[in-house]
Symmetry: D2
Subunit: 371 residues, 4 copies
């Protein structure tokens, strides 16, 4: 019930879309890790509205100012504070929103929650813009994980009714994930890109929006990480994924599809190779009993269609207390799935780093210049 | 990463399948609420292996001994401690499991996690038996929620490839949910019961197992409960659902299906009736921006097929460090979905009570005999 | 083990003394409360090095920039993010500190903790400057508490060997506490001020430093707030007090002095007046069994002498790995007790607000413009 | 605000004095550590009312039944659940307490907190008996710490106005601490024992009670453990100490006494010996900036006189709403300080283990039989 996440790595996110700035505090990082600002910029860039067809025209500079916790290019081990100034805010686009509830948005639930006192300009604290600090925090976490050969990447599994091919979940490589992170529309089957863009473009022309599914893989985590029951690896990852706006479903391994298999199919058989134990299949997505089994951790996240659409919708005028019609103005993505990808990657990195510090402790992560 | 859940209502679960007892501590309950032991027994009975066709033959008495926190039939407000003695344990069925990893189980991940020191008899702390304390805690939470007209209930949405009809998610009644809680195979379309049992029975004959999907509804929660971003209502509920063994997917409202809708379809339009605001549809499952909107909270949970099957499976012998064959003995459910239903109901009740205490405080819940 | 405090009100502090900025995120505030920037400035001013005799000459502007969570002069209920830019940093004063450990400081423990990667300029994250964000957060909390007639104030109980008169702990008024908050050297017996300043001035001349004790009272809290055992009111308050640099002791009511009383003296007898129950004495400091009893909450905090002194001290040169002599340069308070007072007031306000939200919930605090 | 403590090691305590049982769940222990039941019994015995002069005549068997988490004599890494049955309860001694508030007790604050629904027999959840589960948990933690050569022990620093000699805080040995744990009245100066017992006996004859101060040392913790600001080592230890009934003050190192020193005296100078860094004095109690510095961690805890005394006291009859007289019947300690010693030792062990797991992780603690 808050804007703070985590047990060891604590992420505290703040800000409203049209306030002075948004930001984040990342507490509990191990010290002495190199932080490359180019990698941060690249990740921020992936979330940024692109010049391309699928995205809003708001120019979000998303320039991060790091205020603490990184010194001489390395994590100090003390909290990283960072802010992103809000610029290019056109609040007038939202003028009539004060009385008309936008369907699919948090206008009504937020009104009840905050008794009308929240800053509603640009959706305020509910804005998708609040995912920028998460991407920043994820860019830090990812660099630390990379030093331990843990890699994370996602492809767009589907947009509307069109599907990419899924990961072969027993055979995922660092190169493959690294490549996906460099694509504007990350897909396993390159031919999907055009199709996806076409669906989005057509939808935009219809003044409508579409959603999709993102499939993510994490490789390089040892077996035996996590604990059963509460806050296990699946619980932890799902908890942070559902914190991303527009997420309505999360599944691990075969997920809902596993209910269409018999046990004899769903059970992942073990085998030994070079003294290591693997599973032949990975229907369980790398997790048994809430604990990693050494296979790739694979999950899918369902992203609903953008709530803001230019089509006329039925709603309620809360000031006049009567039914009304609404056309949402402003610059909105016809499909936020491509921009959700780096957010999911970041969220996964934060969750995994938090889980790993439980296991290895700060001492296992800190690297000593002076011992 | 633990067996403790919650912020205000803290649930601490302990025990191994074949140890002396399993149990739970429930911390943070409001005081002065009537607790009916018959309701507890009924809920425990729903989770218990039934005499019916679909369930194991282990006779789990599941008799709860309450040690504290309830006095003169009411919650005292101090922690409720409760234990359930383990009886009828046939550990010999598990004898060969010490060296053979059961596919789909936590044998391997648990081995790595606990370095071999965990009690593996009957799956130990990983046993589905550990859901009994959750059901007990849920039975307490449910009774408190009932006093505020909040009701929770589930039906089996599917088993293997056969589907029940879904909730009409804008029109769910207390009576409907109450009825579901009284059915051994809770379904909306009564004709599904026979079909489900037939699938399970046939699967059992094939020495195999099946899974399914459970759909759950929570009605009576006011609009404006929860907070955006981390630990929001979806994040919190998903976190406890993924803590239930065999759960591999969670979705709210239309979930993954919402990705097959356009925004103009997925957005739930608002309307006013008798000065209250409702949505015409409920594709978002009663939650916008992580906060309740007053409509029924609806979610689905994917349960994988039981891992323990009598069919021969490929695996690894960790002592001899070679590939091996395994036939899992013991008494196992060919389908645990019916028994998962009360666990999901209980988990939802615990999560919702925890969220509500954030909102209303203990003072909003405590009812004064002496003020 | 972090820079995050609290359960409902979560305070996340960040920053280093000579980095770009320090700051804080305050999560979980109720919405709709008026925030007066003058009150914030006044509190920040109390912590600021004064022009007076007792304090450092560093000019800390301590100008807070609020980035989120306050809109139209009221709390929005979303996180308050705020930063204070660091200016007037003379890092050269600290040049030789890289190799010489300052006695009484966290140089050595910090070195071991952060493996040498922490920003040591101006003591970095260990700087007393990090109390400024706490004072800011406390100024917000205090204004919310004030609306419920809860008042907090402190006097300097002693400096070195000279003592003020203590609170009459059964008779403390809002006016008295309000007055104390307006004094540069807050004392109950006005004649102490001169004496205290004299001790400090003399100590400074000796290139030395002194500490003292601060006594704090919180009035207006109802009986029945808190819970026994862990995280009770005393545990919670002590936890945040020990988070303030230089604090080495905390006691409630008569504290250590209560061990010099017989039970018949220490027990606070009850009496009825106008249908309310009070205690005749308040040796227990307003708390029984970890729960408030409606009497003033009274505690004392021991502040050690400033570690930075201009006298030569024995220490170790960690680069040359040999014993060495050190004279700490820079501008340091000969006595930080007066500046610790507003920090203690702020910390107490944060802890009490956190505890009260447990009890009353957000709903008990939120005040509705739209219901 | 709960009966749950800790971040990594989570202790959940439950029970009422005259209910069926009290108990504890210890979550998050590392696996594979030998647990000696004799050591547990010895610790439980130290807390038990002794046959001696200073203690109640209630025969508390304090026989712990371990229900989970220990298997083949070793920790499994899953939660340890344990209960202690309540026997020898004479509830009739408390009959008149339903209407008469006992001064110094939590009767009034508890009444307000729980609205009258708490089990008041034998003080219920407020009973000092609830420290037994803490001692049990501490006995487990202590055995794990011992394997890392961390030792904890306490002596009674004072009872009423009589003082033992304090620890030489730079020179404390394992043998010394081990010896203290074997004494019924642990003292550094053996001649104090008789004096202490005399004071207690005389007090008892006067139908009164006395308190005292306990001084505790923890040796063997490396430098660099903990983090600054919130939840630092002092904050964490003080938080659990104030969770022990009757504790009214906590101080580290010289504590309140350090305010009577000049900075030049209070600062602990560093020196090198055999390539290790030590401090010449230990006025800071082994902690700088909230982080250990490798010297013994030393703190003192003030225990108030037993609230239950046989002398007549003024109080209030809440049923008749008028002033009244009260003589507390039942069997009560004239001084609980000796019995508080093992509780403080246990609480310190729990806090330290929790802090160390932050630092080293489970992996640093787990010892592999199978890797």
């Amino acid at each position: 019930m808050s804007s703070v996440f985590g047990k060891n790595i604590k992420i505290s996110v703040f800000g409203e879309s049209h306030g002075p700035a948004i930001g984040v505090v990342i507490d509990g990082l191990p010290s002495g890790f190199d932080i490359d600002h180019e990698i941060i910029s690249k990740e921020m860039g992936r979330r940024k509205p692109s010049a391309g067809v699928y995205s809003t025209k708001r120019k979000e500079a998303d320039k991060v100012e790091i205020l603490s916790g990184i010194y001489n290019g390395k994590t100090t081990g003390t909290p990283v504070g960072a802010i992103i100034r809000n610029t290019d805010c056109l609040s007038r686009d939202y003028d009539n929103l004060d009385s008309l509830l936008r369907p699919g948005h948090a206008d009504f639930s937020g009104l009840k929650r905050y008794k009308g006192y929240n800053d509603k300009r640009g959706s305020g604290h509910f804005s998708g813009r609040l995912t920028a600090p998460i991407v920043f925090a994820g860019a830090i976490a990812t660099q630390i994980l990379n030093e331990y050969d843990i890699a994370i990447g996602s492809h767009i599994d589907s947009i509307y009714d069109f599907h990419d091919i899924r990961f072969d979940s027993t055979q995922i490589t660092r190169e493959q994930l690294f490549m996906l992170r460099s694509m504007d529309i990350p897909v396993n089957d390159r031919s999907c890109r055009e199709e996806y863009l076409e669906i989005i473009e057509e939808t935009r022309k219809n003044l409508d929006s579409v959603g999709g599914v993102v499939e993510t893989a994490i490789i390089g985590i040892s077996a035996g990480i996590g604990s059963p029951i509460f806050d296990n690896v699946e619980a932890k990852i799902s908890s942070i994924l559902f914190s991303i706006p527009a997420v309505k479903g999360v599944e691990f391994g075969d997920g809902f599809g596993i209910t269409k298999l018999y046990g004899s199919q769903a059970n992942d058989s073990f085998y030994i190779k070079d003294e290591n134990i693997y599973t032949k299949t990975n229907h369980n997505g790398g997790i048994n009993g809430g604990i990693t089994n050494g296979m790739p951790v694979v999950f899918r996240t369902a992203i609903k269609p953008t709530s803001s659409i230019a089509k006329e919708q039925d709603t309620v005028d809360i000031k006049e207390e009567r039914d009304a019609k609404l056309i949402v103005k402003g610059r909105h993505d016809a499909c936020i799935v491509p921009r959700a990808v780096p957010v999911i990657d970041a969220a996964a990195a934060i969750a995994i780093l938090d889980i790993l510090i439980d296991h290895y402790g700060l001492e296992g992560f800190n690297k000593g210049r002076y011992e």
